[in-house]
């Protein structure tokens, strides 16, 4: 059994009227289980020479689905301010925009592809999936 931990640290001195800081750590486990996630795609790094439309970065067909606790990590590794990556679920279900430097870490049910759309050329992205091999 693998032990994988994901940690989020969020802090700001001025987004509220008081200093704000929190640290959250999760051990990545299979659905309804204390057994760790046992699959990882590795981190894929791509630089798209042209604008992309609904390019699949996570294909649902290769994952078990529904009763699962998969996680998807995506980061816009471009520089600058404006070259965003629009992240969607298959069927034009828009999640949101990752601007340069932005990252996301989401639970993934394995029932729909995860797709990206870009509006600029030479946008860089990295992504990976942490998943479970069987349905719990």
């Amino acid at each position: 059994m693998a032990t994988t931990t994901a940690t989020l640290i969020l802090s700001s001195a001025d987004v509220t009227g008081h200093n704000f800081s929190m640290t959250q750590t999760a051990t990545l486990t299979k659905a309804a289980s204390s057994t760790g996630l046992d699959e990882f795609t590795g981190i894929t790094s791509r630089k798209y020479p042209t604008a992309q439309t609904d390019t699949v970065v996570v294909a649902d067909s290769i994952y078990v689905d529904t009763t699962v606790a998969h996680k998807v990590y995506i980061r816009n590794t471009s520089t600058g301010n404006s070259d965003y990556i629009l992240v969607e679920l298959e069927g034009d279900v828009i999640i949101g925009r990752l601007y340069p430097g932005d990252w996301m870490f989401i639970p993934y049910g394995g029932t729909l592809d995860v797709q990206v759309t870009t509006v600029a050329t030479n946008v860089s992205i990295e992504y990976g999936v942490f998943s479970q091999s069987t349905v719990s």
């Binding site: 693998a2 032990t3 994988t4 931990t5 994901a6 940690t7 989020l8 640290i9 969020l10 802090s11 700001s12 001195a13 001025d14 987004v15 509220t16 704000f20 929190m22 999760a26 990545l28 486990t29 659905a31 309804a32 289980s33 204390s34 760790g36 990882f40 981190i43 699962v68 606790a69 998969h70 990590y73 980061r75 301010n81 404006s82 965003y84 629009l86 992240v87 679920l89 069927g91 034009d92 279900v93 828009i94 999640i95 949101g96 925009r97 990752l98 601007y99 430097g101 932005d102 990252w103 996301m104 870490f105 989401i106 639970p107 993934y108 049910g109 029932t111 729909l112 990976g128 942490f130």
Partner: protein, 248 residues
């Protein structure tokens, strides 16, 4: 001057045995407005939503964030965490989306099991809000009444513009208003898809001694929001979700 703030969010992931070599991934960013160097400056604050239902059959979803309430196509960020410590308890996170694969009209993002957290950008794409114009016309008298959306006003005099002003000054539960002379424009507070049924003259109750009326015109049907965030617990007993939205 526009308010700005400096908020930093860092991600790290590590494992000594998921792969044959130790794994470490890290990323850090400052939360900025879309296409800008200015920091996101508004937040809902860190909050907790506790769900509880009488029994399993009556478990339903809860709207956590409505796209209509926030700026669309920006750099909004959402953090959620399931505070449960029972392995089997999860929250399903849904987006309303354009189609919907789960229960008609929503699409599952994924499940947050006990202790899981997520952090993601949120597009906050709202829908179209229904609108219509109610025009106060013909002969009214002091004491006549006008009622809509559970709100009733009583005319103080016979001047139609004054009656329209009374209506515009009301705080309707489901509508906001503006006025031009005797015409009151209603805009729904939230976008929703009402099918083909738009608000009509018959939906407003007028009691008048004369022939005063309140004809509805220029109705525009609404469409549903595409980015509302719903959550649904897996059990009817108490579960808590921690959340924060940092937005444009």
């Amino acid at each position: 001057m526009a308010r700005t703030a400096t908020t930093t969010v860092s991600f790290s992931l590590s494992s000594s045995d998921l792969t044959s070599s130790a794994l470490n991934i890290s990323a850090s960013q400052q939360l900025k407005k879309a296409g800008s160097k200015l920091g996101l400056s508004q937040t809902t604050g860190l909050a907790i939503k506790t769900t509880s239902y009488a029994s399993a059959p009556v478990i339903d979803s809860t709207v956590l964030f409505r796209g209509d309430d926030y700026t669309a196509d920006g750099a909004n960020k959402i953090y959620l965490k399931n505070l449960s410590t029972i392995d089997s308890e999860y929250f399903t996170v849904y987006l309303t989306g354009s189609g919907g694969t789960d229960g008609g009209g929503v699409t599952e993002l994924g499940r947050l099991y006990a202790g899981d957290w997520t952090f993601f950008p949120w597009n906050a794409t709202g829908g179209t809000k229904e609108t219509f114009i109610a025009t106060i016309a013909n002969t009214w008298a002091a004491g006549d009444t006008w009622e809509f959306d559970g709100i009733e006003i009583t005319a103080a005099d016979s001047t139609v513009a004054n009656i329209a002003t009374l209506i515009d000054e009301c705080q309707f539960p489901n509508w906001v208003t503006s006025r031009s002379t005797a015409a009151v424009t209603f805009v729904a507070r939230y976008a929703q898809d009402a099918g083909t049924v738009a608000t009509a003259t018959a939906d407003i109750t007028v009691v008048t001694a004369g022939d005063g009326d309140s004809v509805v015109s220029s109705s525009t049907l609404g469409t549903k929001s595409l980015s509302d965030i719903y959550i649904k617990p897996s059990v009817h007993t108490e579960m808590s979700l921690e959340h924060i939205l940092i937005h444009e």
